[in-house]
């Protein structure tokens, strides 16, 4: 079923690319605009949202793009800084003391 939907999207997108006149293509929301909206997550007008939704229905490229972004965003949450070793932690704690003594006036 999934493959069928992808094939239909691909076919529709190709047909629009071939058959739609240039003046119409220029008025339609493009893949570039769609990717910009999806990546930057900026607010768009209701009309733009409808255009975006309709574009996504027929464009497998943008559907894949959206899925890629979603995956990258999900995995990015799991990026962690390396943990401090015991030695590094001691060094950091000592740095804190030195900084406090350096920048404060009294105890």
């Amino acid at each position: 079923m999934d493959k069928l939907i992808k094939a239909i999207r691909h076919f529709l997108h190709e047909e629009v690319s071939i058959l739609a006149p240039k003046w119409l293509k220029r008025r339609m929301i493009s893949c570039q605009q769609v990717t910009e909206i999806l990546s930057s997550e900026r607010h768009v007008s209701s009309f733009k949202k409808v255009q975006l939704h309709m574009h996504m229905m027929i464009c497998q490229c943008c559907t894949n793009y959206k899925a890629q972004l979603k995956f990258i965003n999900q995995k990015a949450k799991n990026i962690q800084p390396p943990k401090f070793s015991a030695e590094q932690q001691v060094k950091i704690d000592n740095s804190k003391e030195d900084l406090i003594n350096k920048f404060s006036n009294n105890k």
């Binding site: 992808k6 690319s17 240039k22 293509k25 220029r26 493009s30 893949c31 570039q32 605009q33 990717t35 910009e36 990546s39 930057s40 997550e41 900026r42 497998q60 490229c61 943008c62 894949n64 793009y65 899925a67 890629q68 972004l69 995956f71 990258i72 965003n73 995995k75 990015a76 949450k77 799991n78 990026i79 800084p81 390396p82 401090f84 590094q88 060094k91 950091i92 740095s95 804190k96 900084l99 406090i100 920048f103 404060s104 006036n105 009294n106 105890k107």
Partner: protein, 197 residues
């Protein structure tokens, strides 16, 4: 301690021991971890954070408290990191506008050879996070910072704009370029691995 209060700011400017101690104890490790997430080593991160505190206490007399001191502090740190990258020529490849334009035809449609692939192959990969971290390293500083603050640290947009000193529109552009660059590079890596076998 309420770091937003005028009373705290007054004590900090007077270099009150308790105020200074509280601030440093609360934020020193967070600053180091923030620096580490930008891909620099522990020793360099410590140097950057030391320089951050020095700059803060040089400028604190002029700090009016219009933003939270945390935002101010992290803003100083990210600027120090950008300076470090500029001096080390840290990033190797700049995903410029020209390369972005090569992804799309004259009507803004994806070119046949740049069409995004189904990411299902990525979901099967256990090395995806390592690959993502490696490709993050190749992004220009502003793009990397914007991406890490937004998607790794999940900071609100308004906070990121204050830290990076950019408008929300500019931040949107940075995030767009960062994400586009990342996904193109990751796609290339997986294609290459597929070719190499």
């Amino acid at each position: 301690m309420n770091y937003s209060s005028p009373e705290f700011l007054k004590l900090l400017k007077e270099r009150d021991h308790q105020a200074v101690s509280s601030l440093i104890n609360d934020y020193h490790e967070a600053l180091i971890k923030g620096a580490l997430k930008q891909g620099i080593g522990v020793d360099q991160a410590e140097e950057v954070v030391q320089a951050t505190w020095t700059t803060l206490f040089e400028k604190v007399d002029n700090f009016e408290g219009r933003s939270h001191i945390r935002t101010y502090l992290f803003g100083i740190m990210y600027n120090k990191i950008k300076e470090l990258w500029r001096s080390n020529k840290k990033y190797t490849h700049n995903f410029e506008d020209e390369q972005m334009d090569q992804l799309f035809d004259e009507f803004g449609g994806f070119m046949p050879n740049t069409s995004p692939i189904d990411p299902s192959i990525w979901t099967e990969s256990q090395q995806f996070i390592s690959i993502l971290e490696e490709e993050l390293d190749t992004l220009p500083p502003n793009q990397r910072m914007a991406f890490v603050l937004k998607e790794v640290e999940r900071q609100p947009t308004e906070e990121i704009c204050k830290i990076l000193d950019v408008s929300s529109t500019n931040l949107g552009v940075l995030i767009y370029r960062a994400k586009n660059a990342l996904r193109v590079k990751i796609e290339k890596r997986y294609k290459q691995e597929g070719t190499d076998g």
